[in-house]
C-alpha cells in the first residue's frame, strides 16, 4: 500500500465572501491530486455483477402533475398542498430567480444535464389524495414497499426505537411515534403538515439557512419542493429516540424535491437519520433536496445519512442525480452540528453538507464515506464557515473508488476575521481499487484571522496485492479481505453512526463492492 501525505500550509484563495452563495468556487483549484493508477493489478478486475437490491417498482396509482415546469406547475403543487399565500409567493419568487440562473458546471463531474421539461415535479400515490388519518389507512402496497426496504414503520418501529417519517415520491406517508414525541413537546411531521399546523415556525426559519436564491438546485427546490420532514425540539429537551426519514423515488420520470427543516432550541439535542432508495430505471432521475438545520445555544444536532439511490447499471446507464444542498447553522453559543454521511448510491452526487459556526465555542463536524463503483461519480465534501470565537471544526472524509468510479473531495474551510482562536482539522483519505478509477481532492482554506489553526492531511492509497496476499496467507478469502480492508479504512466515520445505521452502512459497502475483485 503506497501512501502519500500532504500537509498543507494554510493558504488563501480568491473565492467570494458570500457564505450563502454557490457552495464552492467556480474556478481556482488549489490542490488537485489525480490518481490514475498505473500499476497493473491482475487481482483487481472489475466485474461488478451485483444487482441493486432495492430496484423494485411499486404499482400504485399516482396523481401527478404534467411534465415540465412553469408557474402553473408551482401553483398546482401549492394548491395540492393547500398552502398559504405567502408560501406560494415564496415559491414563485424562487422560480423566477431560477430562470435567471445557470446550471453549475464547476464540479468535477461529467453528465448530461437533466431536461427540466421532461421531469414530473409532483407525483403522489393517489390513495393519499386526502391524506391518511392514521397508519391503518395507508395503502397496504405502500407499507409493503417500506417493509421490503426494511423500514420499521409499524409496530416494529417500537422495537427499533426509531420514529420514521417516510417520504414516497413527493408526499409523506406516515409518521410513527408522533404522539409519543408530542408528549415532550417535540414536533416531528411532514413539512407540508407543519406549514398548516406550525406556520409561525416554518415562516420564521424556512430559507434562513439555505436562502431561495442560494444555488441552482436549491432554488429549484424552493420553487417546487413537495415534502420532507419538519423537526422542532423545544428548549432543554433531549429527543428520547433517533428520528428517521426514508426517501424513496418510485414513479417514473419524477424528480424528488424534499425539504427538511430541523430546529433545536436552547439546550435541545436530536439525532436524525436519513435513508434513500429508488427503483432501477434506464433514465436518470433528479433528486434535488434541501436540508436546513438550526442549533441554538448549547443545542446539538446529529444528522446521519445512508444514501443508496439507484447508482445506474454497470455500463453507467440510468441512476439518480443526487444534487443536494445541506447546511446547518450553529447559531447559539456552544452549539454543535454533526453531519455523517455514507454515500454508496446515485449515478452523480453533488453534495456539500456544511456548517456555519456563528455562535462562540460552537462545533461543526463532517464525517463522510463516499464509494463510487462502475461509472458512478461523486463530488462531495463540506464547508466549515467559522465566524464565532473559539469555533472548532473537524472534517474526516474517506473516498473509495472502484471500477471506473470518480471520487472527488471538495471542501472549504473559511475562518473569518471575527473567529478568534478558531481551529480546524481536516483529514481526507482516498482509496483506489483497480487502475481505471480516480480520486481527486480540492481543499480550499481561507483564513482571515491569524490566531486560527487549520490542519490538513490527505492520503491516497490503493488496496494492494501485498495487503490482500497478507490476508490470504492467513486463510482469509479475497472477498472477506477486501471488506475488512475497506471497513478498516472507513472506521473513523462508521463509529460516528448510530449503531443500527453503522451495521447497514457496512452491509451496503459490502454489497456495493461485491465481485469488485476478480
Amino acid at each position: 500500500m503506497s501512501t502519500q501525505k500532504n500537509n498543507l500550509d494554510v493558504r488563501k484563495t480568491t473565492i467570494d465572501d458570500q457564505i450563502t452563495s454557490m457552495p464552492m468556487p467556480s474556478s481556482g483549484t488549489l490542490l488537485s491530486s489525480s490518481n490514475p493508477v498505473e500499476e497493473d493489478t491482475a487481482l483487481l478486475k472489475e466485474t461488478f455483477k451485483e444487482k441493486y437490491k432495492w430496484g423494485f417498482v411499486t404499482d400504485i396509482e399516482a396523481d401527478s402533475a404534467p411534465p415540465g415546469l412553469d408557474e402553473s406547475t408551482i401553483a398546482f403543487i401549492s394548491a395540492k398542498k393547500k398552502e398559504p399565500q405567502w408560501l406560494l409567493e415564496w415559491r414563485l419568487k424562487a422560480y423566477r430567480h431560477w430562470l435567471t440562473m445557470e446550471e453549475p458546471d464547476w464540479a468535477h463531474l461529467k453528465y448530461n444535464k437533466p431536461n427540466y421539461d421532461e421531469i414530473i415535479f409532483y407525483s403522489a400515490p393517489k390513495s393519499l389524495e386526502d391524506g391518511p388519518k392514521s397508519l391503518d389507512e395507508v395503502d397496504p402496497a405502500l407499507l409493503e414497499t417500506y417493509e421490503k426496504l426494511g423500514i420499521p414503520l409499524h409496530e416494529r418501529a417500537a422495537l427499533a426505537g426509531v420514529a420514521v417519517d417516510a417520504v414516497f415520491d413527493s408526499v409523506s406517508v406516515g409518521t410513527t411515534f408522533k404522539d409519543k414525541l408530542e408528549e415532550v413537546g417535540i414536533i416531528f411531521c411532514p413539512i407540508s403538515e407543519a406549514v398548516h399546523e406550525h406556520p409561525e415556525l416554518v415562516k420564521k426559519y424556512l430559507g434562513t439557512i439555505v436562502p431561495y436564491s442560494d444555488n441552482y438546485y436549491a432554488t429549484l427546490n424552493s420553487a417546487v419542493f413537495t415534502d420532507g420532514s419538519f423537526v422542532y425540539i423545544p428548549k432543554g429537551v433531549k429527543c428520547p429516540m433517533d428520528l428517521s426519514t426514508y426517501f424513496r423515488i418510485n414513479a417514473k420520470s419524477t424528480g424528488q424535491f424534499e425539504r427538511t427543516l430541523i430546529i433545536a432550541e436552547e439546550g435541545a439535542s436530536v439525532s436524525y437519520l436519513e435513508g434513500c432508495t429508488a427503483p432501477m430505471r434506464d433514465e436518470n432521475q433528479l433528486h434535488a433536496a434541501v436540508v436546513e438545520l438550526i442549533a441554538l445555544d448549547d443545542a446539538d444536532i446529529k444528522y446521519s445519512t445512508v444514501q443508496n439511490w439507484y447508482p445506474g447499471d454497470e455500463n453507467g446507464v440510468g441512476g439518480i442525480y443526487n444534487f443536494v444542498t445541506k447546511r446547518g447553522k450553529c447559531q447559539g453559543d456552544r452549539s454543535r452540528i454533526t453531519w455523517t454521511q455514507v454515500e454508496t448510491g446515485s449515478a452523480v452526487t453533488w453534495k456539500y453538507p456544511s456548517c456555519i459556526l456563528l455562535g462562540d465555542d460552537s462545533v461543526g463536524e463532517f464525517y463522510s464515506v463516499a464509494l463510487t463503483n462502475n461509472y458512478q461519480q461523486a463530488d462531495t465534501g463540506t464547508k466549515m464557515i467559522h465566524i464565532g470565537k473559539n469555533t472548532r471544526s473537524t472534517i474526516i472524509s474517506k473516498g473509495i473508488s472502484a471500477g471506473f468510479g470518480q471520487n472527488i473531495y471538495r471542501g472549504l474551510v473559511k475562518i473569518m476575521k471575527s473567529a478568534e482562536h478558531a481551529r480546524n482539522y481536516t483529514q481526507c483519505d482516498s482509496m483506489l481499487m483497480g487502475d481505471r478509477c480516480g480520486a481527486h481532492t480540492f481543499p480550499y482554506i481561507e483564513i482571515k484571522n491569524k490566531t486560527a489553526k487549520a490542519e490538513h492531511e490527505a492520503s491516497t492509497s490503493k488496496i494492494g496485492e501485498d495487503q490482500l496476499f497478507y490476508c490470504n496467507s492467513r486463510g482469509i478469502s479475497t472477498e472477506d479481505s477486501i471488506n475488512m480492508i475497506v471497513n478498516g479504512f472507513c472506521k473513523e466515520v462508521f463509529r460516528e453512526l448510530p449503531m443500527e445505521f453503522a451495521v447497514e452502512a457496512r452491509r451496503l459497502l459490502e454489497v456495493s463492492l461485491e465481485s469488485s475483485v476478480g
Binding site: A42, E465, N472, S473, R474
Partner: protein, 257 residues
Amino acid sequence: MTTPLLEIKNLHASVEGTEILKGVNLTVLPGEVHSIMGPNGSGKSTLSSVIAGHEAYDVTEGSIMFNGIDLLELEADQRACAGVFLAFQYPIEIPGVSTKFFLKAAVNAIRKYRGQDELDAMDFLDLVEEKAKSVNLNIELLDRNVNQGFSGGEKKRAEVFQMALLDPLLGVLDETDSGLDIDALKIVAEGVNKLRSPERGFVVITHYQRLLDYIIPDFVHVLMDGQIVKSGDKSLALVLEEKGYAAFKPCGCSCGC
C-alpha cells in the same frame, strides 16, 4: 515410507517475465527444519512467496506437493487453510483493522475449511491468551491495528505468535531475523523452537548464519541464482559464514565472478 510434508521438484518461477527460480528441488519431511541460505537476489524470498501462493509470481515449470496434495492448484487462502504458514519478512499494515479482529477472521476461516466449528469471542480470547503466553507476546499489542505502530521486533514476534495461533503443518520463515537485535532474535527463535514437533516442518530462510545458532536446522541448503547449489547439515552454515557465498559459485573460486 513417510509422505513428505513438502516436495518441490524442478520449480521454475518468474515475475514479470524474469525467471527467478530455475529448477529448485527440496524435500521436507515431517518434523524437519530446513534452512535456506543465499546471497541477496538469489531467489529466497521468491521461493517463500511461491510456496504461499503470491499471484505476482508465475510458476512456469515444476511442482510443489504439500502433504500429498498439489499446492499449485490452491489459492493462497486455501493453502493457508491447508496448513501452510508464511512469516513475512516485512509484515503488512492494515489500518483500522484490529489485530484481534483480523486473527479471529483467520482462525475461523481455517477452522471452517477444516470442518471445525467457528470459535466464539470467548473461546477465541482464551486461545489467544494461551498462545500469547507461549511466545511471550504482550497481549495489549493485539488491540492495535494489524502491524500498525509495531516496532520491528514486535512485528516479527507477532508473526511467530500468529504461527502459533494458526497451528500450521508447515512454517515458512522469510528472513525473520532481519532487523532484529540479538535479544529479539532469541525470543523469536525460542518461539519457533516451542512449535517444533514430530508433525510440523519448517523452512527457515535467512541471510546470516546467526539465526541458526538458535534454531538448529536439520539441513542447510545454499540457494544461488535460482538453484540449490549445495546441501548439507548444520555445519554447512558455518562453512558459509567462513568462506562466504562466493565459494559456492559454479567456478569454485572466491573471485566474485
